[in-house]
Subunit: 484 residues, 2 copies
């Protein structure tokens, strides 16, 4: 048996962010053991450290989804091909990305099954069965699931053939209620992502060409990554009556007439993990907001040869104290140099490091080191948990503010098409410009600059003047950016 090559258990270099952002991203994902490539083309493994971030995002989001009256359920992974075909735009949008199951239990299937790329078709079919009367409405269901969309070019978390997400699917009596729900969820997503991931987002409406296949209107939240490219971080769709008509989801209304329900659907995915990496990370690796950090604190014992006897017991006491106070804490008692441990945990983005050595024990204190600012400070043992809470809150706040500042510094307004193109050639970010609303101009801009309309501000205000590209009157402002 040949000895295997040495693996990933040693700190190796991470490509500097400024040097090659894309390479840096992949290095961080791999080195911090967030994800790994699998033998299945386009599919990744989410490793325990990455999955723990997802669990924290899930918990935070699930709580909010339930607090707004939604319940979770689970629908089948497979969808008979015929069902997907029922909504014309929907099938057109998803058919090229679909994986087909053709054989099961040793036999060829009579009807091919698709692996869900999204669940409107199967859920709509069930809603048609469950909903009879206006009394059954609204139906407010969410599911946490895996979905599959065949991708040619993949990148861990950001674009993979299989990914994890939540998908909400609701049915309402009136158009107004469906729109209210769509926007309520958009707000919920914005608040969750900003609060938990410390990631500022702009909320707005998608253009016709960027909306969900089969929706009436799609809204999104968009974040700006550290390289100035935008990333769609969540979408909320007002489906109108499109799916209700395709799947015959009707109800007896208060006036006894039979009507189609009004639908919504909405989702966020594991790509949020990728977004958090790209918003907060630096040349040393990952920087995690405390609220979604698997470990908020790492304790590193410092000392001479006998540190296991002299320092470790105190380090364990500190861990116990902090765990009891509700923090997620790890204590690194491996036989490695403290310096090695420092860079290891910095690379893994742990928000706060606590160092404890013989002198600290004498002085009844610890040394704290923040991941975000690298600021170090002595903190007395008395009241340690309360002080740690303050520091972590401050890190969470600081990361958000830093990201807002970066976003604002990388958001510009264009007054002419030449300036517009220059801005998108130069320092990247959002460019706000008036737009006539035509798909032709939108497509032309994309060809010229690679930038797409990320979304259209919620205000709906019509700016004075003409479209940034043509002479037609502007219909709205739009946020343009190159995007992931």
């Amino acid at each position: 048996m040949a000895k295997k090559p040495e693996g990933e258990s040693f700190v190796t270099e991470i490509t500097p962010r400024s040097h090659d952002f894309s390479r840096w991203y992949l290095d961080v994902v791999r080195r911090a053991e967030l994800a790994d490539y699998s033998p299945v083309k386009g599919c990744m493994v989410i490793r325990p450290y990455g999955y723990a971030i997802w669990e924290l995002i899930q918990q935070a989001l699930d709580k909010r989804i339930k607090a707004t009256g939604h319940v979770n359920a689970y629908f089948p992974l497979f969808i008979p091909e015929g069902l997907l075909m029922k909504e014309a735009e929907h099938v057109e949008g998803f058919a090229p990305q679909v994986a087909y199951v053709t054989h099961g239990g040793g036999e060829e299937l009579e009807e091919k099954l698709i692996v869900r790329p999204t669940s409107e078709a199967i859920i709509g079919t069930m809603y048609a069965k469950w909903i009879q009367s206006w009394r059954d409405l609204p139906v407010l269901i969410n599911q946490w699931a895996n979905v599959v969309r065949w991708e040619k070019v993949t990148r861990p978390f950001l674009r993979t053939t299989e990914f994890l997400w939540q998908e909400g699917h609701t049915a309402h009596e009136t158009e107004a209620e469906a729109e209210e729900e769509t926007l309520k969820i958009l707000d919920l997503y914005k608040e969750t992502v900003e609060t938990e991931l410390a990631m500022p987002v702009i909320a707005g409406r998608k253009s016709e060409s960027e909306k969900f296949a089969g929706a009436l209107r799609t809204y999104s939240i968009e974040a700006l990554m550290g390289d100035g490219r935008a990333l769609q971080a969540g979408t909320s769709h007002n489906l109108g009556q499109n799916f209700a008509k395709a799947f015959d989801i009707t109800f007896q209304a208060r006036d006894k007439s039979v009507q189609h329900v009004w639908g919504t659907s909405w989702g966020v995915t594991t790509r949020l993990i990728g977004a958090a990496i790209m918003v907060h990370g630096d040349d040393s690796g990952l920087v995690l907001p405390p609220r979604v950090a698997p470990f908020q604190i790492v304790i590193v014992p410092i000392g001479r040869d006998n540190w296991r006897e002299t320092v470790l017991p105190r380090a364990k006491q500190i861990q116990d104290t902090l765990v009891a106070a509700g923090f997620r804490v790890t204590l690194d008692e491996r036989d490695e140099r403290p310096g090695w441990k420092f860079s290891e945990w910095e690379m893994r983005g742990v928000p706060l490091r606590i160092e404890i050595g013989p002198k600290d024990i004498e002085k009844f204190q610890v040394l704290t080191a923040r991941r975000d600012t690298r600021e170090k400070a002595g903190v007395p043992m008395d009241g340690l948990a309360a002080r740690v809470r303050e520091i972590l809150d401050d890190i969470q706040r600081n990361l958000f503010e830093r990201a807002v500042t970066f976003r604002d510094e990388h958001t510009q307004r264009a007054a002419s098409y030449d300036q517009f193109k220059d801005l998108l050639e130069g320092r990247p970010g959002f460019v706000i410009a008036p737009w006539c609303g035509s798909a032709a101009c939108e497509a032309h801009i994309k060809t010229d600059t690679q930038a797409t309309i990320r979304n259209i501000p919620m205000s709906g205000a019509v700016p004075a003047g003409t479209c940034i590209r043509c002479d037609s009157p502007a219909q709205s402002e739009a946020w343009f950016a190159k995007a992931y």
Copy 2:
């Protein structure tokens, strides 16, 4: 548009349990809105009420899995066909049940993908990559996922083509550690199922013919359903080095030699929900143990026409009090008769009903009604939450004890093969008998009686005398039963 037939929102009859257990089960699943059939053959929809039970089971189990040092991760849904083929017994066991993806992204795939029936193959492949040294061991990973095993005859929760489960996969330095892990998890499963689902189980080792395809030894917990048939409620496998050899999972040992890891895998599934229905349910429908009941308490306001003004405000106060005390509570304020609401929530298995009417308000009390014993009692408003806690604890205990009594009453010992066959013909349940250990006898017994060896007691004690069926000396006792 034709008006749809009236749906499931009216209380209709449930087939009596004693009359037709199987029909009763399906009625309960449908009427309590736990699950529904889907347009995908063999796949079910887990409706919100059923899924909420699963979430409570998940939380309880996940907490214990983490407390014993395991971490969660996520591995791909698809497995290249070639990987499944690597472990000979494994492929033989699973190949007939596999679903194949043959086309993706509009093209025929070069290598067919199977939809995971279990994840040893894909996880083993990753472990081979991740594990280098004894320092990397143990690896203790769990995943919550959907899996697919093609089934010809299906029944909601008990046997469906797609189901939800958790699957733990661990790698260890030594055989002893792997065995310790396998048994630790078996204990964990037993404790969880008995504590949370109030479902007594027997823990033991599976016979060779019933063990997991590719395992060295399989252990299981087995519960007895209300119709006297057994149900496998969880399994824990010592994989030995079988998968390590098939997938080349090696490590450099402390003595510098290169060795194969020792593996385990273990899982429980959504069939636990089916088991809970069949252990505790009665002719009125579901009976849920408080610890896994989506609603532990239903409050039904009682009163004349003006109950919305007179009684509802107090009912809401009570709800607030009980929610603040940590209970899961629903308040039924629909415009239906109280009697209708009583049977509706009894059918749905809510452990405790609280009735509140004008006279109760005067007397500053409520009326409680237990689902398990149907016992009613007045409870003063003062100290209500504490009293409710006592009642719910008592219900949980009573359900467990009732199930233990039933199990004990339906567990018998056979002294001769004629008696053995009689017992399995007559009142069903477990029959304990000495067994020679041969697969031939086991198969013969199955043909004669339809009963299988559920498991072999952990004691390992060798009984005196001969096998229940042949003249060879007994190797062990075995628990036989007809099973789901």
